[in-house]
Assembly symmetry: C2
Homo-oligomer: 120 residues x 2
Amino acid sequence: MTKEILPDLLSSWEETYKKGQLTLWIFLALKDGQKYVDEIKEFIEIKSQSTINCEEQSLYRNLRKYEHIDVVSFENRKGNKGPDRKYYYLTKMGTELLEKFIERNIKLFFSNEINNLLNK
Amino acid sequence: MTKEILPDLLSSWEETYKKGQLTLWIFLALKDGQKYVDEIKEFIEIKSQSTINCEEQSLYRNLRKYEHIDVVSFENRKGNKGPDRKYYYLTKMGTELLEKFIERNIKLFFSNEINNLLNK
DNA sequence: AATAGTATTATTCAACTTGTATAATACAAA
DNA sequence: TTTGTATTATACAAGTTGAATAATACTATT
């Protein structure tokens, strides 16, 4: 009985959970190196082990938001085909922001107290 | 210049980020042991190092949702004063659900690839 | 018996992100 | 000219949380 409900509960929880996570994943992708949208999407899919499959539209929307406030910037480069690609990177402010965010919000899970609880 | 904007960006990002995180924190609190709402709130505030300060109303709302679908249950117990308290705990299904969630969504950050990136 | 404090339930509105759908613009190569 | 790639834009639905407000109910104290 449980076996049929559990996957649905899990995916609906994950759907909610990931809504606030996209920015983090994008910034991690950019910390890894300059990327344009397709590469960011691929990075996230692989590194999240397919937990997060985002739409390109969501990436563009998110990137534009942070571009406007100088957290993210880009450089035009040619691809194999079509028009130039925007290769995004974190600005100095974006780098600082990500660093502080990781320190406050991610490192928590590496603390002994939480880590013990996670593995109990 | 950056120094004035950064704290605002950080807290607005955190506000968004934590919106999908409450369920995880509640479930971790319950995994730690049966608790009623005040204790859950305290657990989250302390263990998140004040990164997450949630409203009791949000806890009630969230708990009720998962209570209805048999992920969370409770036991009435008397407190020092006032009416009985509902001491919540994870059901068998809730425990399984949390375990699977952690495995898929949290353990990622302990992988070498992500961990290296976080500390770069 | 009345009051004050504790615990929970309920409703509503605003703010925010993402999914989804749809459309438009623009460039390059075949 | 057509096809494929890359980006921008708008609008609506769904979901969560913050905040405000109100109501119910039990207990202990005065």
